[in-house]
Symmetry: C2
Subunit: 326 residues, 2 copies
DNA sequence: CTGAAAGCGCTAACAT
DNA sequence: ATGTTAGCGCTTTCAG
């Protein structure tokens, strides 16, 4: 077995509780004793056992981070930021992938709940009802989903979507298509509402097409459906990239024949030819903020008031949008 | 507090140890008692506390996964696969990002070690000496790095690199450049060795240029250095993509003027125009295998023999390579 | 087959 | 300022 608090106590000639205090409440320990204990602990290579500590304190100092698909380029920056922020706060994070499966999501929450102080639900696929039920087991913070009474971090795609429609209209487009995402996606619904309202304001036609798989395949498959529109706003960059590919296969040029806008500002979009016009999602900021809100909620216990953080998005105009064909 | 084993025991009129057995050694419990206890546990919503269990069993059923950079597109598929495989085996996984910092890596290993049964080190930046020292604290499996006496999963880029050189030679290229990766990268060194040997076999010229940053920027920056070669094998897809961009800026066409080969078969490469010819890295398979080897090592304890798994890579010919210019 | 009791590593009153 | 004691939730001998 590894070296325990008891070994340190024995070696320094003090009681275990004194050793415990040197680590968790140093100010309660005589400076001299403290330095000695610290030195001996160091020498022995002692590291407090966080799991054992959790048993008595009720705080595991672990967080759970549940995402639909780790390999979706939208998530890695968020995971990276959340994980870095958590470590800064002396927290470790379990990362789990649900494969877009609500049942898996629930299962994960339940098995993880005892091992973490809170969980970050990113773009959950679970029903709001289920989420509200599960919240009794463990504190949540939800990213990109509106759940009544829960602390939430939202990225305001609506804002970006309005800007995108405005941009397309200014380029002369009058028939615009929207490729929605999976059913149950808050982001998709937000985009739909905002795009519809903006289309109304500008008095242009908006065809809402979906649901589509949030992948390149989904975009390729949608290439047939967008005929008749000169510009397409896509659920995310992957769909946009797939769509461009599908369009190209059909002999259509982007942006000459069709303008395409994505969402996420992901790496593949930035590297694409043509470079993708897209709505940036502040994923890293969202990850950091979600962790801080979660930790605040954990600290506050039941008493905490749910917060709603709304992060701004913006349109980045690159090469996949251009003047509407004559 | 949540419902504990004690609550279940009380409610079912048996001793806690019987409840414990129904979960961890069902065959030792009378079938009738078992079903009753199970039913009551279910009704109460009881979930065993894994942390508490870990305290007595010494098995946390957690794994650590340490990578240099979560946002590097090479890693997400590996993380996803490792995490999925772990869950299949009833393990949860902590994911941590070192930001390419060896000190951070060490710190993470140390704080994580008490909370996990083993850790997966992916493309570690830590020195071999340090790794060998740390292994006393927790079982390791290393991916894409050769460490004496440690179980290792390697992706055989050498094989792919030889195939790439062969492919280029068959297209008529006689002057080929190799853009290496960061110093200390095992993958980069493997590529160098294999490419050099293949170039020798085919009697063509190979210019080894590096080190280069493993990013798009690194590729852009290298565009000046490859003049004189008609084909370039790059450390990874990002470098290749950057190189293509840099070459394009200089008025050179890919593959007409220069052929470019990447490594990773990453999403951005697949979506690029022209689609990138690349060496596939079996990252998902590596993730799964690494988890299984780690779990095997955990089970075997000290007695286990280190294994060396070598996964095959292969060349995927797409659009960024073509006949050498006349 | 089941109960009793000890203990995993640590913290948190409570004493001293 | 430090020691004592009692658990946290669970598993594991050892009896019965």
């Amino acid at each position: 077995m590894a070296v325990t608090i008891r070994d340190v106590a024995k070696a320094s000639g003090v009681h275990v509780s004194t050793v415990s205090r040197t680590f968790s409440a140093p100010h309660l320990v005589n400076a001299e004793t403290r330095t000695r204990v610290l030195a001996i602990a160091e020498g022995l290579g002692y590291r407090p056992n966080r799991a054992a500590r959790a048993l008595t304190t009720g705080r595991t100092h672990n967080l759970g981070l549940i995402v639909a698909d780790i390999a979706n380029p939208f998530f890695p920056p968020l995971i990276k930021a959340a994980q870095a922020q958590a470590r800064e706060r002396d927290y470790h994070v379990f990362v789990a992938d649900t494969d877009e499966d609500p049942l898996m999501e629930q299962e994960l929450i339940e098995t993880l709940s005892k091992q973490v102080d809170g969980v970050l639900l990113c773009s959950p696929r679970l029903s709001n009802r289920m989420i509200e039920k599960l919240r009794a087991e463990v504190p949540f913070v939800v990213v990109n989903r509106r759940v009544k009474g829960l602390t939430t971090v939202l990225m305001d795609v609506g804002q970006g979507a309005r800007a995108a429609i405005g941009h397309l209209v200014s380029l002369g487009h009058r028939r615009i298509a929207l490729l929605t995402g999976p059913d149950g996606s808050w982001t998709s619904e937000e985009m739909r509402t905002a795009a519809a309202s903006a289309a109304g304001d500008f008095d242009v036609e908006l065809s809402v097409l979906g649901p589509n798989e949030p992948t390149e395949q989904g975009g390729i498959a949608a290439a047939d459906k967008v005929a008749g529109s000169t510009a397409v706003l896509c659920y995310n960059d992957l769909v946009a990239l797939g769509l461009i590919e599908g369009l190209t296969d059909r002999g259509l040029k982007v942006p000459d024949d069709v303008s395409v806008v994505g969402v996420d500002d992901s790496l593949p979009g930035r590297l694409n030819k043509p470079k993708l016009t897209t709505i940036t999602m502040p994923t890293a900021a969202a990850g950091r903020m979600a962790v801080d809100l979660l930790l605040a909620a954990v600290g506050a216990g039941e008493s905490g008031t749910p917060t709603l953080a709304r992060l701004e998005t913006s349109l980045v105009i690159r090469e996949s949008t251009g003047a509407a064909p004559a």
